[in-house]
């Protein structure tokens, strides 16, 4: 059920990125990057405090650290370029999806929480990677903004692989 909701939200992200913002401006991309990171930071904070398996807790902590680091770099670059992040349908739907995920996770405990959190992380990173590849990198006009997206992309691939490993470990328990 939860996974279905994630997939639905993720589809919305991609379709809104593809339709409403066919070619988002750099200011919109900056907003999408900041929101996408913040959504995962918020979920990571929750996992740090609520997860029961040590590896899930550690993963949540890592998501907070990594995505905070990326956001610091993104905000610094936006400032340097004089780009003011601009709210748009993609960033709004990311934010809404993130809030819904938090609400749903808050109702869960123990192994059920761990599973729901990790399942969401797998789906979320996959969808964010799709958005980076299909929309954000191709649309970015400023070379430094494009370079930032290209340089952080492999970390998100790493998160996806790491989350999948944990998902497999949880499945064995």
């Amino acid at each position: 059920m939860n996974l279905l909701r994630v997939l639905f939200a993720a589809t919305l992200i991609v379709s809104s990125a593809g339709v409403a913002a066919q070619a988002p401006s750099d200011a919109q991309i900056a907003s999408i990057v900041v929101v996408a990171n913040q959504v995962d930071i918020d979920a990571g904070h929750l996992a740090e405090s609520k997860a029961s398996a040590a590896e899930v807790k550690a993963f949540g902590k890592q998501m907070v650290t990594d995505h905070t680091g990326v956001n610091k770099q993104a905000v610094a670059l936006a400032k340097k370029l004089g780009v003011v992040p601009e709210d748009n349908p993609t960033s709004q739907s990311l934010k809404k999806g993130g809030e819904e995920n938090l609400e749903s996770l808050k109702t869960l405990k123990g192994a059920a929480f761990d599973k729901a959190y990790i399942d969401h992380e797998v789906a979320y990173h996959q969808q964010v990677l799709d958005a980076i590849d299909k929309t954000l990198i191709p649309s970015a006009k400023n070379a430094e903004l494009k370079a930032l997206l290209v340089s952080v992309r492999p970390a998100f691939v790493g998160h996806l692989e790491h989350a999948k490993q944990i998902q497999a470990d949880l499945g064995k328990k």
Partner: protein, 129 residues
């Protein structure tokens, strides 16, 4: 008078040239000369070197590093988040913060595959000869 001065200058220039030439002589030539005087084989030993592996865009550069036993390797993290350099059972940097470094001197020759435990897609190889 003028002639004497210019001769002196010419001599001084020649001497300086000799010194410069000697200084420019490659070190290995001097080692060879010493070795032949001592009747020994030329010393092939090079002093230990410090190698650097840069961690950037969730990748190690170079991906594969070949070094001599006795050399040092430094991993320098240029990403905005932590990484590790971990070869299970051999070495483990633990978390290297953004902007930080970790030094390691291998204790045995061999080829070690290592990863970042935070980003399992980040893989490198260390070959110690």
């Amino acid at each position: 008078m003028t002639l004497t001065v210019s001769t002196k200058i010419a001599r001084a220039v020649a001497t300086t040239g000799d010194v410069l030439r000697r200084a420019a002589e490659p070190a290995w030539l001097r080692v060879l000369a010493l070795a032949s005087v001592a009747g020994m084989a030329p010393a092939a030993e090079t002093p230990p070197v410090t190698h650097t592996v840069v961690m950037r865009a969730t990748s190690y550069a170079p991906l594969a590093l070949t070094m001599k036993l006795g050399d040092m390797v430094v991993w320098r993290n240029e990403d905005p988040f932590p990484h590790t350099a971990t070869a299970a059972g051999v070495f483990d940097s633990k978390s290297i913060a953004a902007g930080a470094s970790w030094k390691y001197r291998p204790e045995a020759a061999g080829e070690y595959a290592y990863i970042c435990t935070f980003h399992p897609n980040m893989k490198g190889t260390l070959k110690v000869e």
